[in-house]
Assembly symmetry: C2
Homo-oligomer: 550 residues x 2
C-alpha cells in the first residue's frame, strides 16, 4: 500500500488519553512512553499524549518525551476550550497545553446546545466565543489546531444550526481539522453517513459565503475527522461510514480501549480501511506489525489480550480440524477474509504438523536461533510444544519459557541451580489480619546443597523469597530481579478446586521484562515452576552478556 | 414495544450451535437445556438447538427437550444438504434431523461455486439438486424449512448468477426463509446493503417468471434473513444494514459467542433494532431481562462476562465522578444513548451515595429482604459494601456472599461453625509427579472443638476436604455439597506475588448453585474464605428449609 495512489486517511490514536478512561486500566509515565514509541513505529501520524492541564502525570509525560522524541509521529496535547468569561491568554489549562511544547494541539468544545446551557450554564454565544478565543490564542502561540466537536451527532440532531455554527467558528478561527465526535456512542452508521455529507455541503456553502476572506487560508475548507465510541457496537462501522462520506481523519485506540464500551478499535479500522477499501493509512511493513503492537500494548497496560478480537486475536484465523483444514490449505481465501500475515497474525490449524513445525522454526528464528526442519531437535521441540499446549500451556505470552525449551532441546540449557524440593506451610489463626506463610527450600548449586527458609505474604511470595535467599550468594545479579506480574487463570472451571491452573509470571531486571508459564492442578506447584523459570531465564540473560529478547 | 405497529424482526438464536464453536466454550446437555429455556423466556422466536446428525450430544438434547418443552419458542434442528449423489430419503444425517422431532429445520447449502467444485468436488448442477432434494424431502416429512445460504456474500461476488440460482432453487423447493450468510465475516455494511436489495429485486423478478406456479404458495416470495460473523468487527452493523435493506430474520448469538471472532451479538442487535430503529423483536418486559440473560448464559458456559460489552456490560453505563455526575443525574439522556433500565442494566455512579443505597435496597428486595433506607442497618450494609468493593470484592456474581452480609447486618447470620485456624503444608520433592498438600483444620461446632486433617491435590483442595470431614458429622447434608467452580483473578497485576487475589467459588447441592467471593493478598486465605462462605450458605439454605436464591 505504500506506493498506493489511493486517498490517505490520517490516523489519530488516543489510547494514551481516551483509552486510559477504561475502567481497570492504569498506566505509568514509563508505560505511556513505551506505548507512544510503539505507535510511532506502527506509523500512526497523530498520537494524542494526554491532557496536561487536567492531569499532572500527563504534563510530565510531554516533558519526558522531549528527551526521547518520536521518529515520525506528531504528538498532540489535548485540552478543552477556555472557561466561560475567562481570558484564553491567562487560562491556566491553556498555559499548560502551550508548555507541553507540541506542534499540534487538540481542543474540544461543546456542539450540543443543551450541554452549553445546562452543563456549562452559559449562553450559546459565549460558547462560540470560547471556541474562537481559544483557537485564535493557540494560533498566536504557533500551534496548529485540531478541533474535537464533543457530542457532535446528538447536538446536530437536537439543534442542527447551532451545531454547524460551532464548527464554522472553529474553522474560521483557524482549526485545520474538524473532528465530529459521537461522544455517547449512540449513533448508527446511516445517520453518521448522512450527517457527515451534510457537514461537507454546509462547509462548502460557507466557503462561498466567505470567499473574500483570504488570511490564514480560511477560504480552504478544513478536513473532517471522526471520533466514535462503541456503546452501540458500531464504533468501527460508524468510522468507516464517515470515511466513505468524506472524513479523512479517524480517531481511535489500540484494542478499542476506552470509557464504558470503548473507542473505535484501530486494530480493526486499519485493516478494513487499507485492505478492504483501498485507503492508505500506514506502510505495508507496519501493517504486518499490527498483531504484535496490539499484544504489546495489552501487556503494557496489563490486560489479557482478547483472543477473539478481529484481525489480531489469537482465534481470528483459527481453523478446526477435518475436511475444512485441507480446503483451507488448498485455497485459504475461500475460508479467510484476508491473509493473516497481512496483519502479522497467523493461521492456526491445530492438526497440521507442517504448519506447527514452520511456526516453531520462525519463532526460534525470531530469537536468533536457526533451526532446520529436518533437524531431529526441531521435531522434538514441536512434539514437546504440542504436549504442553494440550496440557494448557500457551507460549504466545511466555516467550522466555519457549526459549528455555528450545535451549533444552539443543542441549544448551545451563543448569544454574537444581531445586530438590520445597516445603511450604501456612497458618491461619482466626482474628489475625493475614495468613503467615513459611517456605523451606532445598537447592543444589554446583554440587553444593543449600537449605533456606523465608516467610512471605502467601505461599508463593514465601517460596520466591526463600529461593532468592538461597541463590543470591552464588548469583548476586539476582538482587536486581523482581517479580513484576503474576497472573492466574483456571483452565477447566467446572472441576472445582482440582481444576488446572495456568500461572504466568513476569520477571524483570530493571532493563527488560520476560514472561514464564507453568500449568498444574496444583496452583502452588504451577506458581513455583513459573517463578523458577523466571529466575533461570534472568540468569541466562546475564550469562550470555546480552539480552536474548530484544 | 409490545403494542408497537412497527415491522416485526424474527430473531433466530444460534448460541447452542454456532455459539459453541467458540474456542474454549463447551456445554453439557444440562447447560444447553438451561440456555434454551432462558432464551425462550427472553422471547426469542427461533432457537437453533444443534446439528443432530453431526453430534450425538445434540441428538440427545432434542430428546431431553421433549420432556421439558419450551413455552413460546420454536426449537430448530440444523443440518447440511444431502451428500453429492446420495438419496435424501436414505441420508443418515437427514434421518437424524427428522428424528429430532422439531417443526422447523434449518438446512445449509453451498452458494459459492468454488466451494462446490473445489470443496465438495461435485458439479454446480449437482449442488442445486442437493438443495432441491433435501428441502423437498423434508417437506414430505412435514417440516418447515429455513435455508442458510453458506458463504453467500463471497459466492455472490464471485459468481452472482450461480449464487442467485441456489436461492431460487431453495425457494422453489419450499424454503420459507432464505438466510444470507457472511460465513467468513469479511463483508462490509455497504456491500451487504447493496446485495440484499439486489436479492429482493431478483426474487420479485423470479416470481413474475413463475407466476403460474401456485402449489405450495411458491408464488409468494420467501422472506430474507441475515447471518453475520464478526471477523471485520462488522457483524452487528452488517445485520442492521441487511434489515434496513429488507431482511426480516436476524441470526446471532448471546454475547456474540461463535467461531473465530464470533457471531452477530444479539445483546447489541436487539436494543439497536428495537430502541433505535423502532422494529419490534421481543416484549418490553423481556428486553428488561437482556442484561440478566447475558450474564446468566455467560455463567452457564463458564466464561467471564465482558464488562465492557455494549448495553449489557457492567461498564456500559458507568460514569466517572466530578461535574459529569451531577449533569448525568440532572439529565441522563445527555450522557447516555439509552436508559440502562430498558435493557435491565444500571447506571453506575461510584460517588453517588444515594444511588448506592437504592441499589442495596433493590438488591436485598430481590432476595425477599425488605429494608428501609432510613434503617441504620441499610446504611451499615452500604458502608460495608463500599469498603469491600474498594478492596476488590464484586457482588454481581457472588450473591450468596451478599446475602450473608445482609443477614449479618440484620443480626440474622447463624454461626453453624467457627473456624479457629488451619495449617496447610505442601511438599515438593523433585521428580515426583505432583505436589502433595496436607491441611489440618480446627473448627468449633456448638462449643465443641474438632481437629481434622485431610490430603488434597493442592492446598485449596486439601483445606476443603479437611473442613468437610470436620463438619459432616454435625451437618450430614454437607455430603451433598460440591465445589462446582473455582475462579481466580489477580486484581493489581503489577505488584507481583503480593498482588491481591480475588477468588470466586461456586458451590452446589444438586438442586441449586451459589457463588461466594473473597479477596486477599494471600491466594490461600481468599480461597479458604470463599469455600467457608460457600458451605455456610449451603447450610443456611437447609436451615431455612427453602432456597433463598430462586
Amino acid at each position: 500500500m505504500t506506493t498506493n495512489p489511493s486517498p490517505q486517511i490520517w490516523l489519530y490514536d488516543t489510547t494514551l488519553r481516551d483509552g486510559t478512561q477504561r475502567e481497570g486500566l492504569s498506566v505509568s509515565i514509563e508505560d505511556k512512553l513505551r506505548i507512544a514509541h510503539k505507535l510511532d513505529q506502527l506509523g500512526i501520524p497523530f498520537i494524542e499524549g494526554g491532557w496536561p492541564g487536567a492531569n499532572p502525570k500527563d504534563g510530565q509525560f510531554f516533558h519526558h518525551l522531549q528527551d526521547q522524541p518520536l521518529q515520525q509521529a506528531e504528538i498532540v496535547a489535548f485540552c478543552s476550550t477556555r472557561r466561560p468569561h475567562a481570558h484564553a491568554a491567562t487560562e491556566p489549562m491553556l498555559q499548560s497545553i502551550v508548555a507541553a511544547g507540541t506542534r499540534w494541539v487538540t481542543i474540544f468544545g461543546k456542539s450540543w446546545d443543551l450541554h452549553v446551557t445546562a452543563g456549562l450554564k452559559t449562553s450559546l454565544e459565549e460558547n462560540l466565543a470560547m471556541i474562537r478565543d481559544t483557537i485564535e490564542y493557540l494560533h498566536t502561540q504557533g500551534k496548529r489546531v485540531i478541533y474535537d466537536a464533543e457530542h457532535w451527532f446528538d447536538g446536530y440532531k437536537n439543534n442542527r444550526n447551532y451545531a454547524l455554527q460551532t464548527l464554522e467558528t472553529a474553522w474560521l478561527s483557524g482549526a485545520e481539522w474538524l473532528v465530529l465526535c459521537d461522544t455517547n456512542g449512540g449513533t448508527l452508521p446511516h445517520e453518521v453517513s448522512q450527517i457527515v455529507k451534510d457537514v461537507s455541503c454546509h462547509l462548502s456553502a460557507v466557503r462561498e459565503k466567505n470567499s473574500l476572506i483570504h488570511d490564514q487560508g480560511q477560504n480552504q475548507i478544513p478536513q473532517i475527522g471522526i471520533h466514535t465510541h462503541n456503546d452501540s457496537e458500531m464504533a468501527v462501522a460508524n468510522a468507516i461510514a464517515a470515511v466513505m462520506a468524506g472524513a479523512r481523519m479517524v480517531q481511535g485506540t489500540i484494542n478499542g480501549y476506552g470509557e464504558r464500551c470503548g473507542n473505535a478499535n484501530l486494530c480493526s479500522l486499519i485493516p478494513n480501511l487499507q485492505l478492504k477499501l483501498g485507503y492508505s493509512c500506514i506502510g505495508e511493513h507496519q501493517l504486518n506489525q499490527l498483531t504484535e503492537a496490539s499484544h504489546f500494548i495489552s501487556e503494557v497496560v496489563n490486560l489479557a489480550p482478547d483472543e477473539h478480537a478481529p484481525f489480531v486475536g489469537r482465534s481470528a484465523f483459527a481453523h478446526k480440524g477435518g475436511i475444512h483444514v485441507s480446503a483451507v490449505e488448498r485455497n485459504p481465501l475461500t475460508y479467510e477474509h484476508i491473509q493473516p500475515e497481512q496483519v502479522g497474525n497467523r493461521r492456526r490449524i491445530v492438526i497440521s504438523e507442517q504448519a506447527g513445525l514452520s511456526n516453531v522454526l520462525s519463532k526460534a528464528r525470531s530469537f536468533g536461533i536457526e533451526l532446520d526442519k529436518e533437524q531431529p531437535q526441531a521435531k522434538f521441540i514441536l512434539k514437546r510444544l504440542k504436549e504442553l499446549e494440550s496440557a494448557g500451556y500457551q507460549f504466545e505470552a511466555a516467550e522466555a519459557s519457549f526459549i528455555l525449551l528450545v535451549y533444552e532441546a539443543l542441549g544448551l540449557r545451563q543448569q544454574f541451580f537444581e531445586v530438590q524440593g520445597f516445603h511450604v506451610h501456612c497458618d491461619l489463626v482466626e482474628g489475625k489480619e493475614t495468613t503467615n506463610s513459611l517456605a523451606t527450600i532445598k537447592v543444589a548449586v554446583n554440587g553444593k546443597n543449600i537449605l533456606e527458609a523465608a516467610e512471605g505474604n502467601g505461599p508463593v511470595a514465601a517460596l520466591d523469597a526463600a529461593l532468592r535467599k538461597a541463590l543470591v550468594n552464588f548469583y548476586p545479579q539476582l538482587a536486581t530481579f523482581e517479580l513484576t506480574d503474576y497472573k492466574v487463570r483456571i483452565l477447566n472451571g467446572h472441576t472445582g478446586t482440582a481444576a488446572k491452573t495456568r500461572v504466568l509470571v513476569e520477571s524483570g531486571n530493571g532493563q527488560q521484562r520476560w514472561m514464564t508459564i507453568a500449568v498444574s492442578t496444583n496452583i502452588l506447584e504451577a506458581s513455583y515452576q513459573a517463578v523458577v523459570e523466571g529466575l533461570e531465564y534472568g540468569l541466562l540473560l546475564y550469562s550470555q552478556g546480552k539480552p536474548i529478547l530484544s
